[in-house]
């Protein structure tokens, strides 16, 4: 049996050890790389990974950057091309806005792995058009300054974006 005083002291030591550990984890996870942080990371990494705490708090930083959008063109069996901007269907107040955009960004970033499954879904969505093929594009926004705006130019004027083809594929037979 341990005495009450010792039990209390051990409890405080355990609590102190944990708060020190967790504080270190919170402070070092987003810290820039250095010899010290790399060394500390070796001990902290399993804890950070397991509890999903390994985060950089770099919202809109270091640079806000220009945006990009996903576009896909569906070619029907008569050879006619229909262009779609899927993000235009989303409403800002619904969480869909984030979920679907995240998917579109993933298709843009990694078309080799994500465009094909997305193509199947979009071809099915536009089955009424009798789709034959689908092609994905990235619309990369370019800098749009206040001077441009004051000169009456529009954000979606073709001077302010570039188009990059990501991947094309045949739609699966219905």
């Amino acid at each position: 049996m341990i005495s009450e005083k010792l039990r209390v002291r051990l409890t405080y030591i355990a609590m102190s050890a944990f708060v020190t550990w967790h504080t270190l984890a919170m402070v070092l996870a987003p810290a820039p790389e250095s010899d010290v942080t790399l060394l500390a990371r070796q001990a902290l990494q399993p804890y950070l990974t397991f509890f999903r705490l390994d985060n950089q708090w770099d919202f809109f930083a270091p640079s806000v950057g220009e945006g990009s959008r996903l576009r896909y063109d569906v070619q029907d069996r008569d050879g006619k091309v229909h262009a779609f901007m899927p993000a235009a269907e989303l409403r800002w107040y619904h969480p869909n806005f984030l979920w679907f955009r995240s998917w579109y960004y993933r298709i843009i970033d990694d078309p080799d792995n994500f465009a094909e499954s997305a193509g199947v879904i979009f071809c099915r969505k536009h089955a009424a058009l009798r789709p034959l093929a689908i092609t994905f594009y990235e619309i990369q926004e370019e800098k749009f300054t206040p001077e441009d705006f004051a000169a009456g130019k529009q954000r979606m004027d073709k001077d302010f974006f570039s188009v990059r083809m990501l991947r094309g594929m045949r739609c699966p037979d219905p």
Partner: protein, 440 residues
């Protein structure tokens, strides 16, 4: 010898300061605010994901399991229950259990174990589909872990209501449960505060590394991107560009100043107000509702328990004392009062058993028919009207307002229902085998 004594004294002083920072007992109220808000946010967010469950987290959805191997390099520490629950019915069951737990977490029902499932499920969703992982999930992971470690559910919760109800059933209607306070609560509150301060510090510092933030133009760029495009703001900013500079530098200033000003007693209210203002702007102007709300809940850890206590005291004083007079011989009445008064967290309502202690305001003959609520100005409201008056003025009972204040309908149904129960209370008591316990 004196050197050793000095070292000993210094160490003792250090231990005292350490204790003051981390372990000075405090109540859980600030953490409970965070719990309620985060629970509500999770419930809404994931509830709205229900129609897309299979697309988002199913194996035939946007992120098949095989893709995750390359994403995580087979790291065994990356774990998600959804790696194992792959059948659609398992996914749906998991999701509905999670939503139920979020509701329970928000209400503070069985909090001590529900909170762990909420944390595990949140991490499971995050790891199962990393494409959705963005700012709010990052902060949620940090806050939920701290809430799990903290002894939450002891205030502003159904668990507290249950504890008070139990005390009243054992010790009479006057009995109550003292507010829970502990050393570990302070430690967890402090951890959450540090989490928020670290977040703001790194967020501010990383912005200062960007050319558009240093030039004071970042806010313009934000509103020109597709995600946050706003013709209204571009119009406004183009003609008043100083607003862009002000908003850009203001954001960085608030984030960095917060880290230093939030700890002092005098400056905390201003730093907190600044942070809440910043997040309100993110929510309203940029549409980042979920993110901003969760961040605000994180900031709740800086709300001092004494602010809440003062707010409660002000409210209690404003409403004035209320006395509920009941029939102590009626077991059913006592049981109902036990339930009802368990929600009176500020102890605004005192009770009087007219059988043992006759009221100077209401006659026994009147009290034979109805329960009465005596108001500060001496007026006495009978039966349904008594409850109706109380639920609007006791914060813990506000959830009952929809039942008592539906125009016409509440009175139309409530008054005869109460009257029927009041006139049949002896029968109800014996039917339910409720004998009154002696009240103290």
């Amino acid at each position: 010898m004196s050197l050793i004594r000095n070292i000993q004294a210094a160490l003792t002083k250090l231990a005292e300061v350490w204790w003051l920072i981390w372990f000075q007992p405090a109540t859980t109220a600030p953490l409970e605010l965070a719990r309620i808000g985060i629970g509500a946010a999770l419930l809404t967010h994931y509830g709205l994901a229900t129609p897309y469950l299979a697309d988002f987290w199913g194996n035939a959805g946007w992120m098949p399991l095989r893709m995750l191997d390359q994403e995580y390099n087979n790291n065994p520490l990356v774990q998600s229950l959804l790696f194992y629950f792959t059948a659609p019915w398992q996914l749906y069951l998991f999701h509905y259990v999670f939503l139920g737990c979020c509701l329970a977490f928000m209400l503070g029902w069985r909090t001590s174990w529900v909170k762990w499932f909420v944390l595990i499920a949140q991490i499971s969703y995050d790891y199962r589909n990393p494409m959705f992982f963005y700012g709010v999930d990052k902060i949620l992971a940090g806050l939920l872990l701290i809430l799990c470690l903290a002894p939450i559910g002891r205030a502003l919760s159904l668990d507290r209501v249950r504890a008070i109800r139990k005390a009243k059933r054992r010790g009479g209607l006057d009995a109550t449960v003292p507010l829970f306070a502990s050393e570990w609560t302070t430690a967890c509150t402090r951890l959450m505060q540090i989490q928020m301060a670290v977040l703001f510090f790194y967020s501010g510092i990383s912005k200062m590394g960007g050319e558009d933030w240093r030039a004071g133009e970042a806010v313009w760029t934000v509103f020109t991107t597709d995600e946050h495009y706003s013709l209204f703001f571009l119009n406004l900013f183009a003609s008043h560009f100083w607003l862009v500079n002000f908003a850009t530098y203001g954001t960085v200033f608030i984030e960095l100043a917060y880290v230093f000003l939030i700890w002092q007693r005098l400056t905390r209210p201003f730093a907190l107000a600044g942070a809440l203002f910043l997040h309100s702007c993110f929510a309203l102007l940029m549409g980042l509702l979920y993110f901003s709300f969760v961040m605000m809940m994180g900031h709740m850890s800086f709300v001092r328990p004494e602010w809440l206590a003062r707010l409660g005291a002000w409210w209690k004083h404003r409403i004035g004392p209320m006395e509920m007079i009941y029939d102590g011989r009626c077991g059913f009445c006592v049981r109902s009062m036990t339930w009802f008064l368990a929600f009176d967290g500020l102890a605004q309502i005192s009770v009087r058993d007219f059988r043992a202690d006759p009221s100077p305001h209401v006659s026994d003959a009147q009290l034979e028919k109805h329960l009465y609520l005596v108001l500060p100005d001496g007026r006495a409201l009978p039966g349904f009207e008594a409850y109706r008056y109380a639920v609007l003025r006791v914060p813990g009972m506000w959830w009952m307002i929809p039942f008592f204040y539906v125009p016409v309908l509440s009175r139309l149904i409530g008054t005869p229902l109460y009257n029927w129960i009041a006139s049949n209370r002896s029968r109800l008591s014996s039917m339910m085998r409720l004998s009154p316990k002696p009240q103290h």
